[in-house]
């Protein structure tokens, strides 16, 4: 049935590959001492190494450099001649693991009822067995921020790696950020039609937010005092929501503010400079109109999580604004991380970054925006985001530029595990490419 001779060869090769891949599934991922040799190693923080060597010892990177002698006996050696090694990419905004099939409401766990849900944890609903996780990780995306949505305060996002069998083993940070949907003052779109009404609604929402934060600060202080010396004091009643905001008001947990339009961004900046909010660790997400006020965002020192693959926000916007937004922010001095806001297609993260690279950011900075920048923004750059000795061994080998769809992501490692390069998508491919073939 199958057509060309060339195809027969490919098929034969494929069957061999299939066999080995299946062995990996039924077997276990490789783990322990692994060496990748003769690769172009993109360390991100310490330059690019030609014909480099990188060795893994368990979960950690043991060595990065050019010294072959570091690869002693007992190493599984992977020859990566002509290939590239990058740190695993991190997507700074997804709902991966929280939503399985968007149109089937019972599988959607990213949107709790209620307006103020600081105690809702994405970590809790994260399904480590979601079919989307293997699909994502084989593309070189090894970490995601997975976030709840909806309401004013949606809940807390988690920073997860994508290899494991429990949220506990996969969480880098179970409370990586508090998600706040900035109340919009825009009178267009789905909101109120006239500007006065919109303004009024906006002010009410901010008053409500301020009240919550005041209460949280009071609660934090009160609980601190009680916890420091409970003797003789009546134990205050526990408030789940305020309890969940303690790390936020301390500035430990970042406040991820989802905000889009120019006016709203300016309002959010203004709010973030209020004296009482100075302890907050604020990050903006979305920021589609960031390019209009990039200087002001930079001045406020607020990092931004942005994507590129969306249509222009205003009907009269220049067509390339979405692609150019990350570069505009970066050039103004804003620390930029790139996200997809996806669930099942988080694998498109490199392409979001690729568009940012092509439209002003440059490949080098765009790679940072999916590696070291998000690691820094979420306070985990001691463990993630670059190929450095002692950091977690999260990396992948690609045949070429990972932003290019024409390149192949050949092998992914997550905290040292050489993971099976397999997902529902590849399994269906293997089964159905030559559906009616029989065993030889």
């Amino acid at each position: 049935m199958m057509k060309s001779k060339k195809w027969n060869i490919i098929l034969a090769l494929l069957l061999m590959v299939t066999f080995t891949v299946q062995a990996q599934i039924t077997g276990k991922p490789n783990f322990g001492k692994i060496a990748i040799i003769d690769a172009t190693i993109h360390t991100i923080t310490e330059g690019t190494i030609q014909h480099g060597v990188i060795t893994l010892d368990g979960e950690k990177i043991e060595y990065v450099g050019t010294d072959r002698s570091k690869v002693g006996g007992g190493y599984t050696v992977i020859d990566a001649t002509g290939k590239h090694v990058f740190p695993g990419f991190m997507d700074s905004g997804t709902s991966l693991g929280l939503v399985e099939v968007n149109a089937v409401p019972v599988t959607v766990d990213n949107r709790e009822v209620g307006n103020m849900n600081p105690n809702m944890l994405a970590f809790t609903a994260f399904n480590p067995h979601s079919a989307s996780i293997p699909v994502t990780r084989v593309s070189g995306v090894t970490h995601v921020i997975t976030a709840p949505q909806g309401g004013l305060m949606s809940g807390q996002a988690a920073l997860m790696d994508l290899w494991g069998y429990s949220p506990d083993s996969m969480a880098i940070d179970a409370t990586a950020g508090m998600v706040l949907n900035w109340p919009s003052v825009q009178s267009r779109g789905w909101g109120p039609r006239n500007p006065e009404q919109a303004e009024k609604r906006y002010k009410e929402a901010v008053r409500n937010l301020d009240k919550w934060l005041d209460n949280a600060r009071f609660y934090e202080q009160m609980m601190n005092e009680f916890e420091a010396d409970p003797i003789g004091k009546t134990k205050p009643e526990k408030n789940q929501q305020l309890q969940a905001m303690r790390a936020l008001v301390q500035g430990e947990t970042p406040l991820i503010i989802a905000v889009s339009s120019e006016k709203d961004i300016l309002n959010a900046i203004e709010w973030s400079t209020h004296e009482e909010n100075s302890s907050l660790n604020i990050v903006f997400a979305g920021v589609e109109e960031g390019w209009r006020v990039s200087e002001k965002i930079a001045e406020a020192g607020i990092p931004c999580l942005v994507s590129t693959l969306y249509t222009p926000v205003r009907s009269y916007d220049h067509i390339h604004r979405p692609y150019e937004n990350p570069a505009a922010l970066m050039k103004a001095g804003v620390k930029v991380a790139i996200m997809t806001r996806e669930v099942e297609n988080v694998r498109n993260l490199p392409f979001n970054a690729g568009y940012a690279a092509a439209y002003g950011m440059g490949a080098e900075e765009a790679v940072k925006a999916v590696t070291i920048n998000p690691a820094e923004i979420f306070g985990v750059s001691d463990r993630l985001g670059s190929l450095e000795i002692g950091k977690q061994a999260n990396l992948f080998i690609s045949s070429g530029d990972p932003f290019e769809p024409l390149s192949q992501i050949e092998q992914v490692f997550i905290k040292g595990y050489q993971i099976p390069m397999d997902s529902r998508h590849t399994q269906l491919f293997e089964e159905f490419l030559d559906r009616d073939a029989t065993q030889e």
Partner: protein, 460 residues
């Protein structure tokens, strides 16, 4: 003052684009030509005269006065064709009846949508403007050329085949069964809706022809002894269904699951219907041999899946499997966002399954052209074909490449280097500059865009 001048200049340039349907001439020299049907030509020239590709080769010269573009280091490929789009509809779904063959997107074209320009900037020159997927048999489609600035009639692709939308599975059963409590509520019902309407249409044809015959007999009988017929009114819906059976209309069927794809092929074989395309067809890969055997086409997403249950067991390798099984497949957008980078969507077929680069390019050019019945006119760089081409800064499958110029009929509609802000044509004089932020920009796929207009009809 400088700003004002720029603005005026831009308006002057732009207003050229608003002159009604014109054909242009251009000579592109010394570029890499992705001909699609005849390999890659390095250092080649393309000459378009009055909207038609009149020469391809080296060292060509054009008629005097023809504008010359230096293509050194650039790539020229035929304009991208999107076989599934709702880019500029007035409304998309006439969703109040499971069968609406009588309506046509020809009467739902908005020629002023700025999304047309955005698509041109992605190298797209033609789209298949489709009815939505609320109905088992939806409305007729219309193939358009993206001549931004012309009238709705002038946007229509002359001599393109007539098309119609069918839809199986979740959408029609949800809208009509779940929403209104009428058939179809199930995939069983979907099949019977199609069969019963074809049968009714065939019966109507017999009755209508009988009426014409007895009317003629009545009119020629001067003695008045023949009884007059009871007139049978012309029925627009049945006429269209008969045109489908007669092969005058190409069916493009929204479908996902393998079983429903097989069902439609059985039904179509029973009624002798050929030359149809399965749209989306996320599970087409499971029945690729059957699709190939029936000579049916597929038009799929590069990687969209899991947004609804019927696409949960699907794969981004769909296109590659179909292609390797000999199915003529295209990659479509069904999205005003994706349509801006369909080249990139096609490139994903290389990543997922290592489809050859040349086949990947076919999936956004000649293959969709075949599915729309316009492959004699567009879809490749061939002498005699229409001058719908785009010049790319690099290899069109590279993420770093940009469209520099897009030509339709040899006339330039997009120029990266003369690309102003605000390319709207339709301007509402009540709009406010400051308030003109639409929070409804599109990202990713949370639902079918081909279900637009429908959500409000469904009581959840």
């Amino acid at each position: 003052m400088k700003n004002t001048l720029t603005t005026l200049l831009i308006i002057a340039v732009f207003s050229v684009g608003t002159i009604a349907q014109e054909k242009g001439s251009v000579l592109i020299q010394n570029a890499t030509l992705m001909t699609i049907t005849d390999g890659i030509i390095e250092n080649g020239d393309v000459l378009i005269v009055d909207g038609i590709i009149s020469a391809i080769g080296a060292d060509l010269s054009g008629p005097s006065g023809v504008s010359v573009v230096d293509g050194t280091g650039k790539y020229v490929m035929p304009g991208i064709i999107d076989a599934h789009s709702h880019l500029n509809t007035v409304s998309t779904n006439e969703a109040r009846n499971p069968v609406t063959a009588e309506v046509t997107m020809e009467e739902s074209i908005n020629p002023n949508s700025v999304s047309i320009y955005r698509a041109l900037a992605g190298g797209v020159t033609s789209i298949h403007l489709m009815h939505g997927s609320a109905n088992v048999i939806g409305g007729q489609g219309e193939t358009l050329k993206l001549r931004y600035g012309v009238t709705q009639d002038e946007m229509r692709f002359a001599d393109a085949k007539r098309t119609i939308k069918f839809a199986l599975g979740e959408n029609p059963t949800r809208v009509h069964g779940q929403g209104n409590g009428i058939q179809p509520r199930t995939r069983m019902g979907v099949e019977q809706i199609i069969r019963s309407h074809f049968d009714e249409a065939l019966d109507y044809r017999i009755k209508r022809e009988a009426y014409f015959a007895s009317k003629e007999a009545y009119e020629v009988d001067r003695r008045g002894r023949t009884a007059p017929p009871i007139p049978v009114a012309k029925n627009l819906r049945y006429d269209v269904l008969n045109d489908i059976i007669d092969g005058e209309i190409l069916v493009h069927c929204h479908s996902y699951r393998a079983d429903e794809i097989l069902m439609l092929m059985r039904v179509f074989n029973d009624y002798g219907i050929k030359n149809y395309t399965f749209q989306h067809a996320n599970e087409a890969f499971k029945v690729a041999p059957e699709i190939a055997k029936n000579g049916a086409y597929t038009s799929v997403f590069a990687d969209w899946w899991a947004y609804k249950f019927e696409v949960y067991y699907s794969t981004a390798y769909n296109a590659t499997i179909l292609n390797e099984n000999g199915v003529t497949n295209s990659i479509n957008s069904d999205s005003n966002e994706l349509i801006r980078h369909l080249n990139h969507e096609a490139a994903k077929t290389v990543r997922y399954g290592e489809t050859s680069e040349s086949d990947a390019l076919k999936m956004i050019t000649i293959n969709p052209a075949k599915q729309l019945g316009i492959d004699e006119m567009v879809g490749s760089l061939e002498i005699g074909k229409q001058g719908d081409v785009a010049i790319w800064s690099g290899h069109p499958l590279s993420i770093y490449s940009k469209v520099e110029h897009t030509y339709v009929d040899g006339k330039k509609y997009f120029d990266l280097y003369m690309d102003p802000v605000d390319m709207r044509i339709a301007v509402d004089s009540e709009d406010s500059y400051a308030e003109a932020v639409f929070n409804t920009f599109i990202q990713g796929r949370e639902e079918d865009s081909c279900m637009s207009d429908v959500f409000e009809l469904i009581e959840q």
